[in-house]
């Protein structure tokens, strides 16, 4: 099997798993999860083969030194539209982390959904499971977590999702990338609304889909415009082609739209897709609500893969977005937009995260903020830094989310055990979990330190440091914003760890929390290894990552010289350590029932942050209420019932009115009487008179005949 065939086959095992589970094995839980995990394993294996082969090739990414294969799919006159697969350095690196995180999350889901536990007392498909009562040998009954009722369905959905992500990563053109993009959008809807009987889950699913759709519409416009300008959507043909890029950069956009070049407009449109998909401000509102889904979903979709797809796409598009730009020149409009929106998002989300109490919400806003980092990095031209941070972030954010799932499971166990009905996700109810859940604690700590950028030993440090270094060198304003965001990141991370693991248990549930099973803790350990070790490929002294991934672009981007990197590195060490220290100090004495110390310090600002800057309320008033009014009142009441039904009713009444009129004034008098009876009576009248000719007397007949004959005779004689 050639390497290209293997690449074609990578997305298939999860798709097959989806099909098999949906069609056949839905009833058997063990079989379903085995198929799903097996499929994820197969794709992981194939991906590793591909990546290691790619690493072995020198100057991978140069012309001819990529793995590509395409088929002619859509005949278009002389040529055909081709679709296929491409593995260049960027997609090889992406494939690496996607394969690992997907496999880890699949394994984790087995434990998360309580495989092996009994069925719940009154569990209902569509609602989260809430416990089964078991009796031990002494007759004591207590409640334990119960198995998810829709167990197999979950694996089917994440199988489909994995298929979408793999398709996106291996594709060689924007169209199949978009296909994978949309499949993931669909699965995100299905999985956020997995517990469909919960109204909040349903609403969150719709919100996610709608918000990302807004972005997708503009993205599709960008794709169409790009196709119209270049006649192709193949990555190598557009982004690795100097002549095409130059043409796009110098041609003005349609109607000279805002004075942009074609490349600028396309770039902006495509970037709007990323704003939606990667939950950048202003389309960020769906991501926190997406925490309604089960935690593996949050990990996979909203940390490791789907939101990363948005950033992956803009990284892919970087040659187009930066067409006409070179180091030191003014930023192109798309890059400027990305720098601005990315930095705003990074700071904005970080400010909200410090005021959240739900363990998953903090991580959600953290994700939004980190994605902002990546977008801002790309905006200032730090291509490699953005890609590096994407990959590192995927590892430690997935780790953090899975860890939070483990925490929640531990708390739920405590809730069930003690019947102490507190919210297992609220950090204010936790505390002291380091003793109860040591493995979770260690791995979560590693992930948190990576997020905060703890110096040297964490992957997050190296990636974030590279971004800050690039910003420091080229865009000081962006550096300031990102530095403040980094401080806040460290602060809320320390806050989270302190509230959750340190100190004393604040509720009975926290007291009785329990460590999770190996199916949940093994992925945590594996990801923790990556969270620590992966960063070492990207140090400023010997940036292997830079050399490898830099081959994706036509011109290998220049690495920052080490001398320029020193000052920002010192600054980032200071920021991270001070943020962590501040968070620990403020919260280490927090006790149950107290107000949040930050609330006291910030006052009304804290309320503002806690309510997410009221963006949800603004959007509700600006968009949701008017649409609801439009559909309920304008379209339904006025147009449909009023106008359309009104027309129908009027036509009906008209018909009812015309009917009797026609009958009484036309049908009866004219047709029946005049024509029908009338013609009959005319015939009768004539008949009565004409029959008198029939006298029965022969001589009369002869006389008549003769009269006529003589008449004719005379006429013949007289006339000519």
């Amino acid at each position: 099997m050639t390497i290209e065939t293997l690449i074609w086959l990578l997305p298939l095992p999860p798709l097959l798993a989806f099909a098999l589970i949906v069609l056949f094995t839905n009833r058997w839980k063990a079989l379903s999860h085995s198929i799903a995990v097996g499929a994820a394993f197969l794709s992981w294996l194939g991906s590793m083969v591909v990546v290691f082969r790619a690493l072995g090739i020198e100057h991978f990414g140069a012309e001819g030194r990529v793995f590509e294969s395409s088929v002619a799919w859509l005949p278009l006159g002389e040529t055909s539209f081709r679709i296929g697969v491409l593995i260049d350095p960027l997609s090889a690196a992406t494939l690496f982390f996607v394969a690992w995180t997907v496999l880890m999350i699949f394994v984790y889901s087995v434990g998360y959904h309580n495989f092996g536990q009994p069925q719940g007392d009154h569990d209902h498909a569509g609602l989260p499971p809430h416990g089964a009562t078991v009796a031990d040998e002494h007759g004591h009954t207590h409640k334990v977590p119960s198995i998810e009722p829709m167990y197999a369905r979950f694996f089917a959905f994440i199988g489909l999702f994995a298929f979408g992500m793999y398709t996106l990563v291996v594709s060689d053109n924007l169209l199949t990338l978009f296909v994978g993009w949309e499949i993931m959008g669909l699965c995100s809807y299905l999985l956020i609304g997995f517990w469909y009987a919960k109204p909040s889950a349903r609403d969150a699913a719709i919100k996610a889909f709608m918000t990302t759709r807004v972005g997708d519409v503009f993205m599709l416009l960008g794709v169409a415009y790009l196709y119209a300008m270049t006649g192709t959507l193949n990555f190598r043909a557009i982004f690795f082609n100097e002549e095409v890029l130059h043409r796009l950069a110098t041609t003005p956009a349609v109607d000279g739209f805002l004075g942009l070049s074609a490349a600028g407009l396309i770039g902006l449109l495509l970037f709007i897709g990323t704003i939606g998909k990667s939950a950048q401000w202003p389309l960020h509102t769906w991501l926190p609500d997406a925490m309604e889904g089960p935690t593996p979903v949050s990990a996979m979709i909203h940390a490791a893969t789907m939101v990363s797809a948005g950033v992956y796409m803009v990284i892919r598009m970087f040659p187009l977005l930066s067409a006409g730009w070179h180091e030191g020149a003014a930023l192109t409009p798309p890059m400027l937009a990305m720098a601005v929106i990315g930095s705003i998002t990074a700071l904005f989300a970080a400010t909200i995260a410090v005021a959240q109490n739900d363990v998953k919400r903090v991580l959600a806003y953290s994700t939004v903020s980190q994605l902002g980092y990546m977008v801002a990095a790309l905006g200032i031209g730090a291509y490699i830094a953005a890609a590096f941070h994407l990959i590192m972030h995927a590892f430690f954010k997935a780790l953090l989310f899975l860890g939070s799932g483990s925490i929640i499971h531990g708390m739920e166990h405590g809730v069930l055990h003690t019947d102490d009905l507190v919210d297992p996700q609220n950090m204010l109810n936790m505390g002291g979990l380091r003793r109860k859940m040591p493995l979770t604690f260690v791995t979560f700590l590693i992930g948190g330190l990576a997020l905060a950028g703890f110096p040297f030993v964490t992957a997050g440090f190296w990636s974030k440091d590279e971004i800050l270094a690039d910003a420091f060198a080229h865009a000081p304003l962006v550096f300031v914003v990102l530095a403040v965001a980094a401080f806040l990141t460290a602060f809320y991370t320390a806050r989270q760890i302190t509230l959750t693991f340190l100190g004393q248990p604040r509720t009975a549930s926290a007291q009785h929390a329990q460590e999770s099973k190996w199916t949940m803790t093994l992925p945590l350990v594996v990801l923790a290894v990556f969270a620590v070790g992966a960063g070492w490929v990207g140090t400023p002294w010997k940036n292997l990552f830079h050399e490898f991934v830099g081959g994706t672009l036509l011109e290998h981007p220049e690495a920052l010289p080490f001398s320029q990197a020193l000052v920002p590195m010192v600054l980032s060490i200071l920021i991270s350590l001070s943020g962590l220290a501040a968070g620990w100090l403020v919260y280490r004495h927090y006790e149950a029932g107290q107000a949040d110390p930050l609330a006291k310090a910030l006052g009304v600002v804290h309320t503002w942050l806690k309510n997410k800057w009221y963006f949800d309320e603004i959007y509700h008033a600006l968009f949701v209420r008017p649409s609801a009014w439009f559909s309920e009142t304008f379209t339904y009441k006025w147009m449909d019932r009023g106008v359309i039904d009104g027309i129908l009713h009027t036509v009906a009444r008209l018909a009812f009115g015309i009917g009797p009129i026609l009958r009484n004034y036309f049908d009866k008098p004219v047709v029946n009487e005049f024509i029908g009876d009338g013609s009959a009576s005319v015939v009768q009248w004539f008949g009565r008179r004409l029959r008198l000719v029939q006298t029965g007397q022969v001589q009369f007949y002869m006389m008549t005949a003769l009269v006529i004959a003589i008449g004719v005779l005379l006429a013949v004689i007289a006339l000519p």
């Binding site: 001589q699 006389m703 003769l706 009269v707 003589i710 005779l713 005379l714 004689i717």
Partner: protein, 168 residues
Amino acid sequence: MGPLQIIFLLAAALVLGAAILVVTTRNLVHAALWLIVALFGVAVLYVLLNASFFAVVQIVIYIGAIAILFIFAVMLTRRIGAKDIGPQNNPNWWLAALLALLMLGGLATIFLSWPAFNTPLPPLSNQVDLIAALGKSLVTTYLLPFELASVLLVAALIGAIFVSWERK
């Protein structure tokens, strides 16, 4: 005015006079007798036309059979005790007379406009035996009409018997 012409005129006058009496007399038996007279006159005319065979046939058939038949019919359909009272002609006889006159006039006009109206008598060749020729033609050239005529007579015979058969 040659002798033949005088004979013609006398015969014609006889026929026309008898005919008028046929159609006007009250007494039906008289009408039948006047019919016989008219038929005789016509026979004379046939002789004038060198159709001597026809003259004989006229007398034998018409007068000898048909006129006798008429007399029998008159007898058989006479109501016993009924006198021939009342007019024998319809109330509309004047219209009939008018029409007859018009017919005559019309016919005369047509004849007059015919160029060969006054054809003189062409000579007969005395080689041809008229009666023999007629007889021969009836069984050769005109065999079919001859046979048909005989069939017709048989049919008329049977028909007449059948129609007047009294069923008891």
